[in-house]
Amino acid sequence: MTISSKESATAPPASPSSPTAPRQGTQIRLSGVTKDYGLAAPAVDAVSLTIQPGEFMTLLGPSGSGKTTTLNLIAGFETLTSGTIALDGADVGTLPPHKRNLGMLFQNYALFPHMTVAQNVAYPLRERRVPKAEIARRVAEVLELVQLPGRDQNYPAQLSGGQQQRVALARAIVFDPAALLLDEPLGALDRNLRGALQMEIRRIHREVGSTFVFVTHDQEEAMNLSDRIALFNSGHIEQVGTPEELYRRPDTLFTARFLGDSNVFDLGGSPVGAKASWEDSTWTIDPATIAGHPGVRSHGAVVVRPEDVQISRDLQTVPAGANAVRATVRDLEYMGSYRTVMLDVGQARQLGRARIDALDAAFAVGDEVTAWWKPERQRVVAV
């Protein structure tokens, strides 16, 4: 699937997180990028994507979806089977990695264990024959930026995982690379540290203003960090958009399921028009909620987020115009700030979820209820 046509439709935001960016980043344009290892299907199949200068773009997807291979193709660690990669219009597809001027952050930090923090950070500057005095100044500056001053004479083994990743970050941005590539850099850290470093990465992106390409399989991380997300699925890009677009306006069932929880009502082959029927319910379809994806016409599904589903004990309280379905309470999960009601929905008794107020204790397992939502809050996607 090529998404270049779609990109003009959903123009990327003007990087809302960096209003005072000191420097514009580099544009990265992938066209028809393919990597074929000669297996059943190509690892990356004709991916086209334009990453705007200064943008924080996340390549999100399950393992084996091609997101890491795509990053390695941009970095030059893998060779292209076909397609082009251009930085600010200049083709770099055949350049070796050390000539691409791209910073990279690895999951295992990849600090040089035989060098001190200062020597690690100075490494890219020494390779570029920067004068000694300037190296010292820039190393001190960047260690200040990642909030790690005073540790420059330590060896990596003497630092914690979070500190090591800060050093790696400093090393990857100290030479003003055209862009920073981040390969699941927070994967090895525990939850609390992860949150703190996510904030750090967002702040540093804001301050240096260069293009960031971030790979992760963690949808929460992707939503927290990104200007835009490119969602990968078995070698192609399923959808590109802001986190909100992907969450609120998924085009396909895969996108709807990968980001957040969804109630999915498969319409089978039945036509999608002003009305749609699922089992014995008939629902109103708001035309604005139908995804532009061509697959919707042949096989669609109605997707509703749990937070948009209300439940009522009797039909009278369901407002007119709402789409409703009969359900039985299967289980209740108390989550602290809210309560999740697990439902057996319809004749097929498929699993449904509604998120209700934490203080609402009106329901018990086995209750017969009506689950309902406003037609404008649903989304019709391609299966």
């Binding site: 050390h98 910073g103 690895f106 990849a110 264990p113 035989h114 490494y123 390779e127 990857a172």
Partner: protein
């Protein structure tokens, strides 16, 4: 202090009988070598143990006789050059084979290790026959080439072991930071595998320094190494100078073997 360290590592105390057994095995290995040292300080002109009185006459003999000194110098020169070649070739082979996978790598590895398992006399005869044709017998170059080939497997093994703990992501990181593959090798790979390289070099040096079988075939009146001279002195002259030279070799080799250990402990304390 050692007890405390053992506790730190969480290792159980070692029973006394295991220590005794270890000491016995160590003595069995070391004693024959150690006998030669007191012998070398004897004043008698025939071998006798224990020596009756103390003298340095055999050392004096060793260091004043040009035959002994020349062969010592030859041995040293051959060993240094052979170790140098073996280290470069063996390290390059180890790094290259580390990146290869599959059957080819296994085949090449076996091929390079073959001189380690081939009986020395077979190698020696083969070397002798081919070197006769190439006019390399009795020459420095001939000794160096033959001994370098013997040293390669040692370097290959020790460098391969060092590469086992080497994280290949570091090379990607280095490339992303702007270093060419050659620069990455010099600044990242070499420092991290240096212990393996030094260990291999020491083994290659010692292998050449005490090699006697090939050296016997290649010797000429103009060029011979110390082990050959020692062999001559025992078989033809029964000269106790050999005990002095043996002692010197034992001490020298021991010191050389301690080099990688000392480097290792210096790294740890840093």
């Amino acid at each position: 202090m050692t007890a405390a360290r053992r506790r730190d590592r969480g290792v159980d105390p070692i029973p006394w009988w295991l220590i005794a057994l270890g000491a016995l095995v160590a003595l069995y290995f070391i004693l024959p070598t150690l006998i030669v040292i007191p012998l070398s300080f004897s004043s008698a002109s025939a071998f006798e143990f224990p020596p009756k009185d103390f003298s340095l006459r055999w050392y004096e003999n060793f260091f004043t006789d040009p035959v002994w000194l020349t062969s010592l110098g030859n041995s040293f020169l051959v060993a240094v050059l052979a170790a140098l070649i073996a280290t470069v070739v063996g390290t390059a082979a180890a790094v290259g084979l580390n990146r290869l996978t599959g059957r080819l790598a296994g085949f090449l590895r076996t091929l390079l290790m073959i001189s380690m398992v081939t009986p020395a006399i077979v190698v020696a005869v083969a070397v002798y026959i081919s070197f006769l044709q190439w006019h390399l017998t009795g020459s420095l170059l001939g000794y160096v080439l033959a001994h370098a080939a013997l040293g390669v497997p040692f370097v290959l093994v020790s460098v391969t072991a060092a590469l086992g703990g080497f994280d290949a992501t570091l090379l990607r990181a280095s490339a992303s930071l702007g270093a060419s593959p050659l620069r990455s090798f010099v600044r990242v790979t070499m420092p991290l595998i240096s212990r393996g390289v030094i260990t291999g070099a020491v083994f290659a040096f010692v292998t050449s320094f005490d090699e006697v079988v090939i050296a016997l075939f290649l010797r000429s009146p103009t060029f011979q190494t110390l082990p050959v001279q020692m062999y001559n002195s025992v078989t033809f002259e029964l000269d106790p100078t050999i005990s002095a030279s043996s002692s010197l070799v034992v001490v020298a080799v021991t010191i050389i073997f301690l080099v990688p250990l000392l480097i290792g402990s210096r790294k740890k304390t840093r």
